[in-house]
């Protein structure tokens, strides 16, 4: 377990910038913080050894460790001030399609302390008014939309709850069930309207809904259920109703946190904890698949009790990055109760100054989008088949045990919510417990078994070992600053698995190589999925896995376009930026048991590649390593001209077989037959690839996540390390590369 965890408010900061640190106790009484540069995070005794470097920055002395909770769950908050005060007659209404009915109370729309429509523990609709409650006979269903309302007629002293299940196929309008009782008027003191949650007695939000809500509305008189259905179906009619106090069209301001009221009262609100917008609504029947073309059909929000955007913990202290601190990967280390073995590392990058180049010509691209995609992932814990893909037993490290006990921390985009809807969002404004040095993983292969950040420290450690000066640039830096930042460098090195890319990032990197930059892609399955940032919500990322790709879920029919940007989600290969075009290779297979060597091919003897193999003997290279015992493995890429690999690219070496854990990617296996496996299909291989660009640049790609684990073998003294260094030294020279005539 982890007695203390924390996070910073940013994953990249320049010298002079301040970083806030939020800490919570999960058993610790006190803690001390220090500042460390991360050199090499793998603790495998067969590896080069764990190494960090203490930086003398005064972060204060011992602090009390205060417990702070995770509060997941999304909703909409409409501050109403006094608009609802004094109402006598009213109707609350919404159209709702629950996605998880599991015996928990849920709220659909609430004026807290006054009136609420909800779902009880037995799936019946409830209408609460003061201390009175109406309950429907009908049970709600995950399969249908329901038009629901709660009305009060003060003259008749009648409270009425209505529910109509819209079964879609029927030719007649759904027939509502109506239940009523007589009760006295209560004064309305509500100062807000909540949608998909309500307030508990302590004021905290509770009873989050898992499901979709469309067009919630509040009126200052009773609306008959049959009239209500027609009103809700037509916003232009609805907004002209004199009785309307507020009606919220979720398709407005879709790419923001803002919720727009279409009534004249302008009771606009905001989403809380990033529920999923741009989702098919009550009136979507497949008429259009792109929400940008028919936003009126995408009027629903899908809420989840497990949504998490910002943990919102109070700041414990802040760190100002010293002006002279060189760019690199650092961490605020939190040591609980004097026990260094239980230390927690809040990792972030110190980037070079925005206004002044550092003078370094080499940069390591710190793949924060991919770290966020995998943030707190639970693959082998939640997905039973993961062990088959690993080809070995699941190891749970301490941070995994923490995740098991604290699902409220929020998920990665590899998980599903409790209703089995895919998780579209991942945020860095919460602890990311697997973005630490030392931690083990599921997918890292037999040996070190490390993944993403910790695996990337094999490259950081190697740069340190060869005494290479370098800057660290994060995905977010590249997304924001584009080529303006990248053009400072001769060479950019990627991490082991830079899988998730925004359009800005793909175009910046392509622009870099097109204009003479040199790219060293030291990983596998890179540049694969489209992701988006949200201009109104810093620190959160969206991924919708449409159509193809190895993926744990699909976004649902009609929901393939990102809500944050309107981009078509899925593979870059389907969005005219195939990884093969950028780096010569693209994802072809995966397996997480053992890795293999490459075997040099005829292209390795081409004089264009002579600099790469100076001092290296073949024909096998990389028959060793910390990630599965070989340099080619885990996730592997192939060169393929049909997918965009430049025709003049040299395929220097390839792996020649893999275990039958390695299968074909779904985007390539159009007709499944049982011969697409690692011992049978030649297409399942890692291709070591090199090519020049017409702008004088060059690209070297390993097409293998396991490459860096081989670099770190034998204290970085081996042929894979030598090849990588040969490439780096030549790539760092100004002399332009020339493609063959």
């Amino acid at each position: 377990m982890l007695p203390i965890v924390g996070y910073t408010n940013k994953l990249t900061a320049e010298p002079g910038e301040t970083v806030d640190v939020m800490v919570s106790s999960f058993g610790a009484k006190s803690y001390q913080a220090d500042f460390r540069q991360i050199i090499q995070g793998d603790t495998n005794p067969d590896g080069p050894g764990y190494q960090d470097r203490k930086i003398e920055i005064d972060l204060g002395g011992e602090r009390k460790a205060i417990a702070k909770p995770f509060r997941p769950g999304s909703c909409v908050v409409i501050p109403a001030h006094k608009t609802f005060a004094g109402i006598k007659d009213f109707t609350l209404a919404a159209v709702v399609k629950p996605s998880l009915l599991d015996g928990r109370r849920r709220s659909i729309i609430a004026l807290p302390g006054f009136a609420e429509i909800g779902i009880d523990e037995n799936d019946h609709l409830t209408g609460n008014f003061s201390d009175q409650m109406l309950v429907s006979t009908l049970r709600l269903s995950n399969e249908h939309w329901h038009i629901v309302s709660l009305s009060y007629d003060s003259a008749a002293r009648q409270l009425t709850l209505s529910i109509a299940q819209d079964r879609d196929a029927a030719s007649e309008p759904p027939r509502p069930e109506i239940v009523s009782l007589e009760t006295d008027l209560q004064p309305c003191m509500a100062t807000e309207c909540l949608i998909a949650a309500t307030r508990g007695t302590d004021g905290e939000m509770v009873d989050y809904l898992d499901g979709k809500i469309d067009r919630p509305a509040v009126f200052d008189r009773t609306i008959a259920p049959d009239v209500l259905r027609n009103l809700l179906a037509d916003f232009s009619l609805l907004r002209r109703q004199r009785s309307l106090l507020g009606a919220w069209d979720f398709s407005r301001k879709m790419m923001t946190q803002v919720i727009r009221d279409i009534s004249p009262y302008q009771l606009h609100g905001r989403i809380h904890n990033a529920p999923t917008r741009a989702m098919t609504g009550w009136l979507w029947k497949g008429q259009e698949l792109d929400w940008k073309l028919r936003p009126d059909l995408y009027t629903a929000i899908h809420f989840h009790s497990t949504d998490m955007y910002d943990a919102g913990w109070d700041m414990d202290f802040s760190v100002t990055i010293p002006d002279k601190l060189k760019s690199g990967v650092y961490s605020v280390r939190l040591v609980p109760d004097g026990n260094e073995d239980d230390a927690y590392y809040c990792v972030f990058a110190v980037r070079p100054p925005r206004g002044k180049p550092s003078g370094n010509t080499v940069a390591f691209l710190f793949p924060t989008c991919s770290y966020m995609a995998y943030a707190n992932h639970r693959l082998a814990m939640d997905v039973p088949g993961t062990e088959i893909g690993m080809g070995r037993a699941v190891e749970l490290d301490r941070h995994h045990m923490f995740l098991q006990e604290n699902p409220g921390i929020g998920f990665s985009v590899y998980e599903t919510h409790d209703d089995e809807q895919g998780v579209f969002h991942s945020s860095r404004l919460r602890p990311i417990v697997d973005m630490q040095p030392k931690v083990k993983s599921f997918l890292g292969g037999f040996g070190s078994n490390i993944w993403q950040f910790n695996a990337d420290t094999h490259i950081l450690g190697w740069l340190d070992a060869i005494e290479q000066d370098y800057d660290v640039v994060t995905d977010e830096d590249m997304h924001e600053d584009g080529l303006r930042l990248l053009q400072r460098y001769n060479v950019i090195l990627t991490g082991t698995h830079p899988e998730y890319y925004t359009r800005n990032m793909v175009e910046a990197l392509q622009g870099f190589t097109d204009r003479g930059g040199r790219l060293m892609y030291l990983g596998g399955n890179g540049f694969y999925w489209v992701v988006s940032f949200n201009e109104d919500m810093p620190g959160i990322m969206e991924c919708r896995r449409s159509e193809a790709g190895i993926r744990p879920w699909e976004p649902g029919h009609g929901q393939f376009y990102h809500g944050f940007t309107g981009e078509y989600g899925g593979l870059w290969r389907r969005n005219d930026h195939p990884p093969n075009h950028l780096c010569g290779v693209g994802m072809t297979s995966q397996g997480f048991d053992i890795s293999e060597p490459y075997v040099l091919g005829p292209d390795a003897s081409d004089p264009r590649a002579a600099f790469i193999f100076e001092g290296v003997e073949g024909p096998k290279i990389g028959e060793f390593g910390l990630a599965g015992g070989g340099a080619a493995g885990l996730e592997v890429d192939r060169a393929d001209v049909a997918q965009g690999t430049p025709e003049h690219a040299l395929v220097l070496a390839s792996s020649e077989r893999h275990t039958d854990i390695y299968l074909m990617t779904p985007e390539d296996i159009l007709d499944p037959t049982p011969d697409w496996s690692g011992t049978q299909a030649d297409i399942i291989r890692a291709d070591l690839t090199f090519f020049e660009t017409i702008g004088g640049g060059a690209v070297f790609s390993t097409g293998s996540i396991a490459w860096a684990g081989a670099m770190a073998w034998n204290g970085y003294d081996n042929e894979i390390s030598k090849i990588t260094e040969n490439v780096l030294k030549r790539f760092d020279q100004e002399t332009p590369f020339k493609p063959p005539q």
Partner: protein, 108 residues
Amino acid sequence: MARYQISDSDLLFASEFLAEPIGYHSPGLQRVLNRMRGADWAFKYILVTEERHSKWRLAKLPIKRGSKVTLIEGVVYTDLLEAERDIFKRRWKDLTGQNVETLLSQSL
């Protein structure tokens, strides 16, 4: 419900696995492992890391997210391949009701 059921005819694959738990497997052994490691279970045998790269404890992970991981008392490994072999034997027993080591010794 998984279609494939492990039986005595898979004993040769048990021998193959126990000789080399990780790496290249015959199609027959892979099918046995797919049955053991797949989705058709109420809990999963997992290894709780006590000391990274040197000490693990056997435990059961229930299928429901957030459930308590139950440590199996007294089962500690200091070698991952030994852990693989032990888990294989336990799963064979769970799925067939029989002790694979006994069966293997009888088949010699």
